[in-house]
């Protein structure tokens, strides 16, 4: 989800696909899924994190 224009289009349709990789998963969530979850708006999300595919990347904490 690098292209903000396509993200806007997808959000307008109430549909979102998030393909997050490794340590970026948390950032991608903060930027995409969480802000658009609203009570009266239908929500369709594919949340496809990097796990459990290689590489096995995880922050130290």
């Amino acid at each position: 989800m690098k292209n903000d224009d396509s993200l806007t289009t997808i959000m307008a349709l109430g549909l979102l696909m998030v393909v997050a990789t490794e340590a970026r998963a948390a950032d991608d969530l903060d930027r995409t899924v969480l802000p658009i979850a609203e009570p009266d708006r239908p929500l369709f999300v594919y949340f496809a994190p990097g796990a459990t595919h290689a590489p096995h990347h995880v922050p130290k904490n």
């Binding site: 490794e22 998963a25 929500l43 999300v45 590489p55 096995h56 922050p59």
Partner: protein, 517 residues
């Protein structure tokens, strides 16, 4: 698992834990600790998605599917795991001692790691085999959880019906009442192969027969057909971590195994000899489904297949010219210089005060090459799978004005054409590189080994700046944009051609080994 389920035996190729050395145990345990942390982090993030839905007050009326895994757990790390998967999938397995150097960095951006196959197989318990083995459930079976509190009242209920991931979309369409469109933008759609799983939501249907009665499986020649509680599986011929491309080339002839899944969830008892008619029936069904789903012809080569010529922008071209910065060309459209001789010529203008930065690079920290100026001195670096940097360095800073820099590489091997004869012998061979400045050789070096097949797959080909990770962390960090003027960069590839004699030898070797035919 139903009571009486038999634990599948461990493949002989996977060593017993008790047979490992203390260092192996320590390394393999750390590899899997990192994997566990990775899974735990993902679980936490998925929890945040659920919380976000809950915060809207709509969780009760939200249908959530959770599928967790990687086909089966992946064996791509090979027998000892790897700090760099780009190495392991090309058949370069690091000794444990060498891997120990990465112990503290394991799981960070300085590694591209994967655990060893023993743990992989353990995560596929109680099934046989691992990811890439589509004939056995260790390579295909995943747990799935479905939640929809308003509708699914049998909280914690377990369902055993046989379904496939393609059944998720029809389930959603059924419950929201949207029919599958026959046309989209005037284009007739392929029929929906999936079937809805919504019937399983109701506790009354906990033991209802599965609405999916047939499913084929195929990956890299390994194949199977499920039908009405039976599965006909091809015998495992290629080990899932063997990417040499030398496995038997005729998957259509691989022996069958038959399992009665009603009594044998783990494919423990092969009953093919007992039910020859069932074998015939399912075999016929497999070929029908394989034909219908464009599976044929089956191909048992792995990563060697990925480097065969195919339609793309670089196919058939041997000369590539660039003027100025062009970054982000994906591997499929990038000039492929592996297993070949090549020349890279950069015509540059150096401003007063000197210049630095990338002329051209492909790949990065885990495999790749870079041609760049470091404090105005030319450097060409090969990163060999993160294990070794081979560098050609000019001693003198370039003076202001126009210069021509060249890196010329003469490859000693027979090249990728040996793959046509079932042999990877033309790949990864030695070669000698010459770095020249304005026609004068300033550095010469021979590489005993070269990268055989693959550049780092998540990186790209970049001219004038670097994206992703650097080829040499000790020299620069991206983007390391070129601060001079790149008038023209020309990359010329001279692929080896097989002589008649080479072909005869390769054919003789192939006929001596019918498996490779």
């Amino acid at each position: 698992m139903p009571e009486g389920t038999t634990l599948a035996p461990k493949p002989a190729a996977i060593p017993d834990w008790d047979s490992l050395s203390a260092d192996e145990k320590r390394l393999f345990a750390h590899q899997v600790e990192v994997f566990a942390a990775y899974v735990e982090m993902t679980d936490h993030e998925i929890g945040r998605v659920v919380e976000a839905v809950e915060a809207t007050g709509q969780l009760d009326n939200t249908l959530i599917f959770l599928v967790y895994g990687d086909n089966g757990t992946s064996a791509e790390g090979g027998p000892t795991g790897t700090p760099n998967e780009v190495a392991s999938v090309q058949g370069v397995h690091l000794p444990v001692e060498a891997q120990m150097k990465y112990y503290d960095a394991w799981g960070s951006e300085k590694t591209y790691p994967h655990m060893s196959i023993g743990w992989t197989w353990a995560f596929d318990t109680p099934f046989k085999w691992t990811k890439m083995v589509s004939s056995h459930f260790g390579g295909t079976k995943q747990g799935m959880a479905i939640a929809w509190p308003k509708v699914i009242t049998d909280k914690g209920g377990i369902r055993h019906q046989f379904h496939h991931v393609i059944d998720i979309v029809p389930t959603i369409l059924e419950v929201v009442g949207i029919p599958m469109p026959e046309l989209i933008d005037g284009i007739k759609q392929s029929p929906m192969d999936g079937v809805s799983m919504a019937y399983t939501f109701d506790e009354k249907n906990a033991d209802a027969p599965s609405t999916r009665t047939t499913q084929y499986f195929e990956m890299i020649g390994d194949h199977a057909i499920y039908h009405d509680g039976w599965i006909l599986s091809s015998k495992v011929v290629r080990l899932p971590w063997d990417n040499s491309g030398t496995a038997d080339k005729h998957p259509e002839n691989w022996p069958w195994e038959l399992y009665d899944l009603s009594a044998d969830w783990t494919q423990y008892n092969d009953v093919s000899a007992q039910y020859p008619d069932k074998v015939k029936e399912l075999e016929k069904l497999f070929w029908k489904e394989a034909e219908r789903n464009q599976v044929l012809p089956m191909d048992s080569t792995t990563f060697t297949r990925s480097i065969l010529p195919r339609p793309n922008l670089s196919a058939g071209r041997t000369v590539f010219t660039y003027s100025g910065e062009v970054t982000g060309t994906p591997n499929g459209n990038a000039p492929n210089i592996l297993a070949s001789s090549y020349n890279i010529k950069a015509e540059v203008e150096i401003p007063e005060g000197g210049a630095e930065g990338i002329l051209v690079t492909h790949g990065g920290r885990f495999t790749g090459y870079g041609f760049y100026l470091l404090e105005a001195k030319p450097v060409y670096t090969w990163n060999l799978m993160g294990l070794k940097l081979v560098k050609w360095e000019g001693q003198d800073a370039l003076t202001p004005g126009k210069h021509t820099l060249e890196f010329d590489f003469k490859y000693d091997g027979l090249g990728a054409e040996t793959l046509k004869y079932g042999s990877p012998s033309g790949l990864g061979r030695s070669g000698t590189g010459y770095l020249t400045v304005d026609g004068e050789v300033v550095a010469t070096q021979t590489m005993e080994q070269t990268v055989p097949m693959l550049m780092q797959w998540c990186e790209s080909f970049d001219v004038g700046a670097d994206t992703g990770s650097p080829v040499a962390d000790e020299d620069y960090q991206p983007p390391f944009r070129f601060t001079g003027k790149l008038d023209k960069l020309t990359l010329t590839i001279d692929r080896p051609k097989l002589s008649e004699e080479d072909i005869q030898k390769l054919q003789a070797a192939m006929h001596a080994n019918p498996a490779a035919d």
